[in-house]
């Protein structure tokens, strides 16, 4: 039984962050849901995500930040994608995306401010994001 590809997703961990456990799980989970996954693994800069997304013509980019460096590295994220003509790509971020403890709402608005479509700060179940992604992709196609 051949599976239809649900979409192409670039996943990776940003900054000098080497927390790879969630990254491995994410790959497994996305694949189980029928996505084709391009895994940049750990220690990436924003441009690595851009390049990869361009190369594989990705539908979405899943950025992980576990050690909180995300706050520093992601500030310019959406713009960098726009610069290479990927302004409309779905950008998700998740993990422990800031250093220290901060109110969830602040964290979410910080990253939506950076241009992310969805923010999953300290949400252990990746299943939720995958359901959202399927939803977002459907809506995107409907609009197109």
């Amino acid at each position: 039984m051949e599976k239809v590809c649900a979409g192409r997703v670039v996943v990776g961990v940003i900054g000098d962050d080497i927390h790879v456990v969630g990254n491995r799980i994410m790959q497994l989970a996305l694949e189980e849901s029928g996505f084709q996954v391009f895994n940049l693994r750990t220690r990436n800069r924003p441009e690595h995500f851009c390049q990869a997304a361009l190369e594989v013509n990705a539908d979405a980019v899943f950025v992980s930040s576990l050690n909180g460096e995300g706050e520093y590295w992601c500030a310019d994220f959406r713009r960098q994608f726009a610069d290479v003509g990927l302004g409309g790509i779905l950008l998700y971020v998740g993990g422990n995306v800031v250093v220290g403890k901060r109110a969830m709402a602040d964290v979410v608005s910080l990253f939506t401010g950076y241009g992310f479509d969805r923010v999953y700060h300290q949400q252990p179940d990746i299943g939720v994001a995958i359901a959202d992604l399927l939803e977002d992709l459907k809506r995107g196609k409907a609009q197109a």
Binding site: G15, D16, D17, I18, H19, V20, V21, R24, I25, L28, A29, E32, R41, T42, R43, N67, G68, E69, E71, Y72, N96, V98, V99, G100, K101, R102, Q122, P124, I126, G127
Partner: protein, 469 residues
């Protein structure tokens, strides 16, 4: 084929050392001045002294590192007053990757904005002169916690700051903490660290080294962790280190914790003795649960309490504690102090005179011991002129294979899961040279949980997130 040897001791260090110490951030450190300084700090700064003076309870070490000097100073006092027996200095992740410039830049930004842009104390950026002041009046060991593949400059600055315990090792600070750092270089850089620790050591003031047994903290079979610990103890002993702690992280199974502690203690001693390192003292450190923590504070507190109890039961010399904020971000000083408090409370009320056992524990210990012996024996038999080369080859061959290591040199063939007792079982040994009989027993023990062949991400995540139930 190469075994640990006393004459593998690194010679002609001077040249490299000169290079390392001429980095501007070394701020003119000279070994002579440091030697004199170390001779003057309180004797209880040296872990061996603290360990040998400890009572029946394990020593307690919290975690903690914040970017600003003032804040780190306050944290240090706070933790010490809360009764920490070892005071931590946790380093930020830029410094860990030798990105001293970025670290310095973010340190300045943190200072200006009063907001932390670093997840630890950038020791190299601060320098040893300032950092000595962190510890004036403190007569407890300071423990350097980092995760740095190339810790040469960091260790120099740490020692110069009066820090007498350096955590890490060529394997344990490379495979879990780095993606691309060349393992052979890392092993050599840690030889450097081991060697300078030995050089600064005196009879009654030995610099202490500690290895980091939890590794990726995720489904690591005890045999792998123990083999790595023993290897790092031997590598350090080769360089002349005479005070060393092996460690392991709470496995998630009481049975396996007790068994692992027993094997780790026993085999470390026996291998050290076998290769002529009888004078190297070995201590046992227990890390409270290092994997994914529960987010609710009540659950986190319960986990910390339970694991404190286990640290007593396994006869640890030291327990490294977590906080209720572990899953939520870098903990505030109060939360760290609270953790010390509640761990000490648990150790006191549940002080347990002697390690426990059971037939299941005995069986587990026998299995782990046999596996460790196979692995280490096979590594000894690998080609190489000196021991570290065989160790390096062990990763190329997949003889050592650490689940969830981000490192590109890791084989990633070993697959592990939890059995009905929550013990970590080797489902697929990959190229790890454990015997067929042991591999068979691992699988048989796993069979107790029923059919787990339909390995979905959810099952795996369940095993990883076992403390989040």
């Amino acid at each position: 084929m190469a075994r640990p040897r006393r004459d593998a001791r690194r010679t002609a260090l001077e040249h490299t050392r000169h290079q390392v110490l001429s980095h501007p951030l070394a701020r003119g450190i000279t070994p002579r001045e440091v030697q004199d300084y170390l001779a003057k700090v309180p004797r209880r700064r040296f872990p061996r002294v603290a360990y040998d003076e400890r009572g029946p309870l394990p020593c307690i070490q919290p975690r903690g590192g914040v970017p600003l000097f003032e804040a780190q100073h306050a944290l240090t006092r706070r933790l010490s007053e809360a009764g920490a027996d070892f005071v931590p200095l946790t380093i930020d992740s830029y410094t860990r990757h030798n990105q001293y410039d970025t670290a310095t830049q973010l340190l300045r930004r943190s200072e200006e904005e009063g907001k932390d842009y670093l997840n630890g104390y950038p020791l190299v950026s601060h320098g040893h002169e300032l950092s000595r002041e962190l510890y004036t009046g403190i007569d407890k060991p300071i423990s350097l916690r980092h995760g740095t593949p190339d810790a040469r400059l960091l260790a120099e600055v740490a020692l110069a700051s009066g820090i007498a315990e350096i955590e890490g090792g060529g394997i344990c600070y490379c495979l879990p903490y780095s993606e691309g750092f060349p393992l052979d270089r890392c092993l050599l850089y840690w030889q450097y660290v081991d060697r300078i620790c030995a050089l600064y050591s005196t009879e009654d003031r030995p610099i202490h080294r500690e290895s980091f047994g939890p590794l990726s903290a995720t489904l690591v079979p005890p045999a792998i962790a123990i083999a790595v610990q023993i290897i790092e103890a031997l590598l350090a002993a080769e360089q002349g280190v005479v005070s060393f702690a092996v460690s392991f992280g709470q496995t998630g199974s009481l049975i396996q914790d007790v068994a692992a502690a027993r094997v780790l203690k026993h085999l470390t001693r026996s291998y050290l003795d076998e290769f002529g390192f009888e004078t190297t003292r070995a201590y046992l450190v227990y890390h409270q649960w290092m994997g994914q923590f529960p987010q609710q504070r009540e659950k986190a507190a319960a986990l910390i309490a339970g694991s404190a109890m286990i640290s007593g039961m396994v006869g640890a010399d030291k327990v490294v504690v977590k906080t209720v904020d572990e899953a939520l971000g870098v903990p505030r000083p109060e939360v760290n102090a609270e953790a010390v408090d509640s761990v000490r409370y648990m150790l006191r009320i549940f002080a347990c005179a002697a390690p426990v056992t059971s037939p299941l524990i005995d069986r587990e210990a026998a299995l782990i011991k046999s596996e460790v012996r196979s692995i280490i024996g096979a590594i000894f038999d690998l080609s190489g002129d000196v021991f570290w080369e065989s160790v390096y080859r062990a990763f190329q061959m997949g003889y050592l294979d650490i689940p969830f290591s981000p490192h590109s040199d890791n084989a990633n063939l070993l697959v592990s899961m939890r059995d009905a007792n929550k013990s970590i079982r080797i489902v697929d040994r990959g190229h790890v040279p454990i015997s067929d009989a042991d591999a068979e027993q691992e699988r048989a023990l796993l069979a107790s949980v029923g059919d787990r062949n339909d390995k979905t991400y959810r099952q795996l995540l369940g095993d990883i997130n076992m403390m989040m139930v």
